[in-house]
Subunit: 308 residues, 2 copies
Amino acid sequence: MPTKYYSRLHAQDGNAAADSACVSVLRAAGAIIFGKTATTEFASMTEGSPCANPHNGRHTPGGSSSGSAAAVADFQVPLSIGTQTGGSIVRPGSFNGVYAFKATWGTVSTEGTSIVSPSADTPGFYARSVDDLESLAHLFRLDSRLTEPLHPLSIIGARIAFIKTHIWPEALSGTQTAWKLAHRLLAESGAKIEHVELPERFGNCPGWRETVVAEEARAAFLPKYLEDKTKLHADIVALVESTSVPSQKKLLEAHDGIARLRKEWDQIASQYDIIITPSAIDEAPEGLENTGTAACLLPAALCIQTLS
Amino acid sequence: MPTKYYSRLHAQDGNAAADSACVSVLRAAGAIIFGKTATTEFASMTEGSPCANPHNGRHTPGGSSSGSAAAVADFQVPLSIGTQTGGSIVRPGSFNGVYAFKATWGTVSTEGTSIVSPSADTPGFYARSVDDLESLAHLFRLDSRLTEPLHPLSIIGARIAFIKTHIWPEALSGTQTAWKLAHRLLAESGAKIEHVELPERFGNCPGWRETVVAEEARAAFLPKYLEDKTKLHADIVALVESTSVPSQKKLLEAHDGIARLRKEWDQIASQYDIIITPSAIDEAPEGLENTGTAACLLPAALCIQTLS
């Protein structure tokens, strides 16, 4: 099966010589691998592939894991896998109306998948039910990483935090409506809802993440750039050629800042049964050219396990 | 060129279908790739391959990047590359008497190399001179990550910290002799030497690192385990099958602990021009069966850029 990364550099590639780690695990469990799905160039751009949203062909399915979410939404396959560096598991999950699960650091091997940023790239799954997602999590031996509540969770009395995060000012009617609906339904079902405002320093998260990812992507794309830069997206070329490389000090500040916030986030999260944050700023926008605002969502930056 | 990871699982593999990111960068610069060198099973074990130390064939060259260091020491090649998860760039560098440089997080792409632990695996280089190492660093665009002192460093008056780290109680005569010699030569040359004792909490570092690496390696080896566990080293099988998986809480504590120490280390390091720590507990031990104590050296755990 050819693996072309939606890249002109790999347009003439033949079949992949070996399975990626994710595909190996699926195949060992007897899964039938239907195919590679559409992605953006090296799963790193917001410029879309020709893949459309099955709910409305004039709208984007999101990205970078565009085809994986669309193929599940379209009933072509029951399950699919993708990767997320920014929001590219949760956004396509939201745009295509399927369930999406993003693992956390190092718990699912990325071996054999294209690298953008080793400290942010994380695999994820798409399915049409939470039970199906759970089956995949079990297959990848994530059981120990899924919180096992002492008592089965009941919505009545469940402590649920609604956290708008820093992307809220950009949120449009689709997200606002879904937000209010979720709030109303949960409140009517007896949940104890709290609106949690994150401390202001969480606003640094997107900038820190951008510094780390830009630096790691620069290293990741260097070999491709050296092979043939004329076949790379102009943004990738600009990234590798950039002379405004963050200083060692700025890079360390970013790593340390993210690490500190992760701990703070854990302290906040430990007080609730469920945390709800926006997956995207709106429904899938019209047009296939752009896969939507890759708003750097908070859980993405902190590499938190996420269900969309 | 076949790439077999010194693994029975890959013993029958043919030529690799593509270059790894590191090899791509070298090839783009006109390097002639001589071959793959010996490593331990998936570069994750201390059980040696048949590779010997060129200075004395009855002694180990260290590991996991055994052959890369030995081939440079043996004048077969002027430069080589390897990876380090624990101490497996700095230890072979020391055992074979060649210069070794380990990059830091995400600055050299690991794409196409076997994964053990995404948060610890880092590529490194071997050479027979510091100038040659610098050429490689330049090729991999690490210039911005190499500290550029305002004034060329002079040993006269240079502030040099000698930090024994937690492995010192295990240090044997080879390391002790080299340590004293380095101290005497530098002091005689006019350096300002300080013996720095790390705060006691740095002693947690090896344990934290072990937690993180074990968890990540469990995920990394799962696909290989599912493919054919009878062809894997018993320690890898035990790792995947382990039921004493660290809790989410313990894993987060390890990540957060390491992140905190990294910042503390940076504060200590910023006070000195040079920091000297042990690369291994002794000279290369006799026998090829074992590549030596993979003592979790401090710079390894903190993913610090290291010269050996």
